[in-house]
Symmetry: C2
Subunit: 224 residues, 2 copies
């Protein structure tokens, strides 16, 4: 009985979440701000990837960052602020994902008129964030080599929910067992058209292809 009540309440919350996500998308479109929801396991390299995007694209786009964290530690937001870019931290208070309402709070703390691109770093988690739409333009998953090649098979909901896949830490390929064909087969089974970018935030390898993709996606966004 209590389980039935629980399911109903969750459905109501998801419904409310999706409504707020639609409003977020409208607000962002009206302000000409393209947004990426960047999801990953803890430690896959979301923040390093964001720093690399800033390095490559801050001369082209005015970039802001929203950092989702389960705790009050401002480690990631501090790294962005040090670069002189607007950064907002959302402390989820222990919650395992960002939701559309949290993103709205983050957006309310940015001057959207002065930005072209907002990078949203979700909580490190391969399960829950996949279930909550935020209203961002694209969902991006950062996988990493040391996590292992079986992750698409084990976390199918996340791999199915994204528009682009970053395969980070390819510099570690010589040191860990990772069968790229097996990994990509799992990805393609779930999400046949998913575009993927093998990169290393450490060496910079692969970032140019990613930057090209962002640029073409931005053209689509502007004309949408």
């Amino acid at each position: 009985m209590s389980q039935t009540i629980h399911i109903n309440v969750i459905e109501n919350i998801l419904g409310a979440n999706d409504q707020i996500a639609i409003k977020n998308a409208s607000l962002l479109k009206a302000n000409g701000v393209m947004t990426f929801n960047i999801m990953a396991s803890p430690g896959a390299g979301k923040t390093s990837f964001i720093l690399k995007i800033i390095e490559k694209l801050s001369d082209k786009y005015r970039i802001g960052v929203i950092e989702g964290d389960t705790s009050a530690a401002t480690i990631d937001a501090d790294k962005i602020s040090k670069l002189g870019l607007p950064a907002v931290q959302i402390n989820t208070g222990g919650d395992c994902h960002l939701d559309a309402n949290m993103l709205r709070s983050g957006l309310d703390n940015l001057d959207l008129k002065s930005l072209d691109l907002v990078l949203v770093e979700n909580v490190g988690n391969l399960v829950c964030p996949a279930a909550f739409k935020l209203g961002t333009y694209k969902n991006i998953l950062v996988a990493s080599i040391p996590e292992g090649d079986d992750k698409p098979y084990k976390y199918p909901a996340m791999y199915s929910a994204v528009d682009a896949l970053i395969i980070n830490k390819i510099d570690l390929l010589p040191y860990v067992p990772f069968n790229m064909d097996y990994f990509i087969s799992g990805v393609k089974m779930l999400n046949p058209d998913l575009v993927s970018f093998p990169i290393s935030c450490k060496t910079g390898e692969g970032m140019d292809e990613w930057v090209k993709w962002v640029t073409s996606v931005h053209v689509d966004f502007r004309s949408s």
Copy 2:
């Protein structure tokens, strides 16, 4: 208003969960079965660690394994079954953690009388599993070097909730930035008495110290 209802329901579920966890602990104690709840990020090496424990301790203890997965893929359970050990897979149906009732279902599918040690592999997630007691004797966290040294600061609830910390993949220390002092400072701030074991499942380094700990904990369990 809907948020208030949600919180109340969650509290009720947690209360029910804890009651089942207590029953699980009694059942396990009555059968002389020590259990570890093994938690980690996706890809930190939980399954490799379990395989290493089996390699080191299957001559001393009769071991069974319960594998928690968000999907129906039986990759990990198959690895255990191949060794001829009893393995049960719990498919959470997309849920981000095991709960006490799921563990109970797993235990119902093992012949507890014929086992000394059951290793429970939780869903790969550094947030949600920390909130759900299962009734296992000890909670173990597997961290890994490539995840980075800031994880205690970012996922404090998990680091606070465990009885032992495995620091896996120390063979990768030469290839990734990882400040062990900074990492350990974060751990000690949250959980001052937490015992930790730097290991490599790849090379076997550090496993002997871990095995000594398991043996001493088993003595405590038997006399408890």
